[in-house]
Symmetry: C2
Subunit: 564 residues, 2 copies
């Protein structure tokens, strides 16, 4: 085996550490600002790449992220592996049965939501190729087909995530969107495979027709025979091998083989691992915990390496072309919104819901960037258009959630973690009775909010006298609905000796939440109470929470309980 030298290994480890660390950091920052994590991950690469770091210190940038030589090869290998595994995980999320169940509405959204932007892209690329940045001398047909595909593709992972955040994933609306997006993905990927086949077969010596035939044959076989094989194999592995490692190893191996095959026949590796992912995800024998483990590791350790590495390739400042970005963005949004909204209306959805479907489908997300990069590498597009595609993908993804919330007039779901604050936390409560506890927490809230403390206490106490709010397992949730309040205020206190809140299980309450919620929106209080009850449904939760020594540790433990 050809060994890397010590200095090259040092650079490899350091550059990977920088990429992962920076990408995760900015990814989290993006999340805090309600933006998709991929934005932060791309930004990490932009900072470490020629755009920023390369301007500040070209020598060090060239040492850490050389554009040639062994380290460059290793980074390309690892980032390819990363995107192959990411598409495998994206495939796992596809649930083919959903598409059939949703039937007509989904089909109409899917077909129009793919066809309209596709045609618009095709026409645009044919009529104004220069404005859209067609490379001089490039094949007009291939360029037009690529742009049309790029316009029509959606981003299932981003869409699924947005729907989950809005608590819409398991609704009819959510299922229509997801099924339409799956349809969209499958069509988009097949089109893209055909384009890659047309570009030339990477010297495999296969003709276009052979490549396309093999691609369709591969997808067909994997999704039928392969799918049954996986469905049969998963319980055997789960029963007789180390779990979940046995199943994980099997899925990763299949994904790599699928990727190797599609790369071999002249379309990109990601197509193979995506199809394998779909086949594996179709089996209800795939245990949720296995899927989550693969997903967390791949999405948050591997994928950031890929997305950050994009920023290393392109200078996002010098290649930024405002008019191209705006043109592309308008073309993309008009095509997708028109297709999806008309499709949803045609499928019988009310206007607001139809627009919500449109905004959801409009998110391009990570898929667009992956396809764009492949087109860039194949010479179909140039850096200027690639940068515009990346910006378009990010902007459409970032506006998807807020626009859906706005058109559905939906509020943020009521999560305890979002309303807690270190100010409204009392480590060692002095109260010894429920009345005193309510007073103590209300007084705490009064320090930071303009509340009529006596009215608040009276309301909470009246409520307490109607029915005690000890919910058992050592927790109490006294509460009051207050007119004029815009947002929930939650004060939380810990009582080591415990306070009697008349819980059905007879236990004293050690963790007390005082919920003050808007009077005219009962859903806030109900949502928060349900959230708390869920976290403490397990009797062991109390002991775990009481280990906290400060607010941060408390919040950390709530997060674990909430994710169970």
């Amino acid at each position: 085996m050809h060994n890397l030298e010590a200095s090259q290994l040092t650079v490899m480890l350091l550059s990977l550490g920088l990429l992962i660390g920076m990408a995760r950091l900015l990814g989290e920052l993006a999340r805090v600002l309600h933006q998709p994590a991929v934005l932060g991950e791309l930004l990490a690469g932009v900072i470490l790449g020629p755009t920023v770091f390369g301007q500040i210190s070209p020598e060090w940038q060239a040492i850490l992220f050389p554009s040639d030589g062994p380290n460059s090869i290793v980074l390309h290998g690892i980032s390819t592996l990363a995107i192959v595994l990411f598409l495998l995980v994206a495939g796992l999320e596809v649930d083919l049965s959903t598409v059939w169940e949703q039937g007509r509405s989904a089909m109409k959204v899917g077909v129009l939501g793919t066809l309209v932007p596709f045609l618009l892209g095709l026409i645009g690329a044919w009529v104004i190729p220069d404005m859209l940045g067609r490379p001089p001398g490039g094949d007009p047909l291939i360029f037009a087909l690529f742009l049309a595909t790029a316009m029509s593709i959606s981003a299932l992972p981003v869409i699924a995530k947005t729907l989950m955040d809005l608590n819409l994933y398991r609704t009819d609306l959510g299922m229509v969107v997801v099924s339409a997006a799956i349809f969209n993905d499958l069509i988009g990927f097949t089109l893209f495979a055909i384009i890659l086949g047309m570009i030339g077969s990477h010297g495999t010596g296969l003709s276009i027709v052979a490549t396309i035939t093999l691609t369709l044959l591969f997808a067909g076989l994997v999704l039928t025979v392969g799918r049954s094989f996986v469905h049969w194999t998963l319980p055997v592995l789960q029963a007789y091998t180390h779990w979940p490692a046995g199943v994980l190893g099997f899925i990763v191996t299949l994904g790599l083989f699928g990727a190797a095959f599609t790369e071999f026949i002249g379309i990109h590796a990601i197509f193979g691992s995506f199809i394998v992912g779909v086949a594996v995800g179709a089996s209800d024998h795939l245990h949720e915990r296995t899927r989550v483990m693969l997903e967390e590791f791949v999405s948050f350790i591997f994928a950031p390496v890929f997305f950050a590495s994009i920023g290393l390739r392109v200078n996002f400042v010098t290649r930024f072309d405002l008019s191209l970005v705006v043109l592309l963005l308008v073309l993309a949004c008009v095509g997708k919104l028109a297709g999806a909204v008309v499709g949803a209306r045609w499928g019988g959805m009310p206007s607001r819901q139809a627009w919500a479907v449109g905004f959801a489908m409009n998110a391009r997300g990570a898929m667009e960037i992956v396809l764009g990069l492949l087109a860039l590498e194949a010479g179909v597009i140039r850096q200027r258009l690639f940068v515009a595609l990346v910006v378009m993908a990010i902007v459409t993804s970032a506006m998807s959630g807020p626009l859906m919330r706005w058109v559905l007039r939906q509020k943020q779901p009521h999560k305890l973690q979002r309303v807690l604050s270190p100010k409204l936390f009392q480590q060692d409560m002095r109260a010894t009775s429920s009345r005193e506890a309510i007073h103590e927490l209300a007084a705490l809230a009064h320090q930071y909010y303009d509340l009529d403390i006596e009215a608040v206490e009276d309301l909470a106490w009246q409520r307490e006298e109607i029915a005690a709010t000890g919910i058992g397992n050592g927790v109490a949730i006294p509460h009051a609905r207050i007119s004029g309040l815009k947002e929930a205020i939650v004060a939380v206190g810990i009582s080591e000796p415990g306070i009697n809140f008349d819980a059905p299980d007879g236990q004293l309450a050690h963790v007390i939440f005082l919920l003050l919620t808007p009077r005219d929106d009962p859903s806030v209080q109900l949502g928060l109470s349900a959230n708390i009850a869920k976290m403490f449904r397990n009797p062991e939760s109390l002991q775990y929470v009481l280990l906290s020594k400060n607010f941060t540790e408390l919040l950390a433990k709530f997060k674990v309980l909430d994710s169970r």
Copy 2:
């Protein structure tokens, strides 16, 4: 970025798929045969490497696993990354506080268990260097120090796993062994770092003294300041970032930085990630689920790539030297056993326990192989001795568990999964009463075992009449202790309509286990009952299990419940 060509990517994906798939397959096979998984993983490399595949088809072997060129570089990069992450995880398992708690006994075992084999190795290398395969012209001091270190090192991951399998991990014996092994690991690694420092500083231009000083400074700083920083940071990340991804990304990034630093100063990368792992593992803010997720993925997806890649480097047949293997094995076992057993006796342990400590400490496992490979790359040893070291590591690891069980006269722990069999499974029971259910399952057992069926039924029914065996949550465990029985026989049946076994919660039993256990060993029945009760303590378990359509699916679901 320098891009790999399509054919090179194909080879990369295919070769990784083969390495992971084959390594996992043979690793599981080794596990079934009660051997360490690393044996199977190494064997996968031997099969795919020059030893077997290279003999069958040298051309294809050279295409898939070339010894030079971009693919070779990528594989070296990825396998280095794999071992760096594996050592990070190994570091997480180290619990420094245990060493202090166990105090004297552990210290005595640790010191003698390190010193005696070290001296024996040193003397051996000095007196019979040629028989031990010192390379001609090699530095005698460095060779002797390496061999002494190789003799003295233990393998914490293997040892911890063996103790867990034998249910000894949380006992006094287990804690003495683990603390001694931690001591051993830390000393062994420091010695090895010093040897690497002496070999030369990989062209970093640092003197030996500077390298060693920097190494100790790094370890000291990471284990004090770094440890406090991690302890403070973990709850913040858990509270304010996506969990567990935020924490995972943080740990991996730190590990890579640590590895880059130690590689930079002239000792190997694994030293840095190991020390970072120890510092992170020392914090009780590291949530168990985060650790397990990292461990599963790294141990079962990454580590196999590294261990399999070893087989690609060396021909294990032509370089196998029987007399060297035997000599090394004897030297290793005598030194380690003498040191550890005497240390344990000195620490006041009874004879059998002292020998158990010795056999546990004797396992060399993966660490030995890692050190051996580094020595091979640095030219300190040659392939013949490397092969002998690998064999020695595997043999000492494989015999560790069985010898401990033998010297402690311990039986295998009573796990339901080990005694279930597809023959003794009844999918749709006909019985409608508890009496009939016992009859039906006893008759099933009777088909395959030589049992006095009437006596068995009578015993089980008498037991049932004393106190009903419905344990609630839809499960019943009728049982009988039978004289002359050597091993437990368990028949399991599913009843869709349910059978009344007088459970305290009033539920009918849908899953019925008939336990027939040896009369003179009550622990078998108690162990199995406890195992079943644990799996079904959650009311949701029943519905989950009832989804099974055959025995394999049932066993797969039991595995999930058992791991909760």
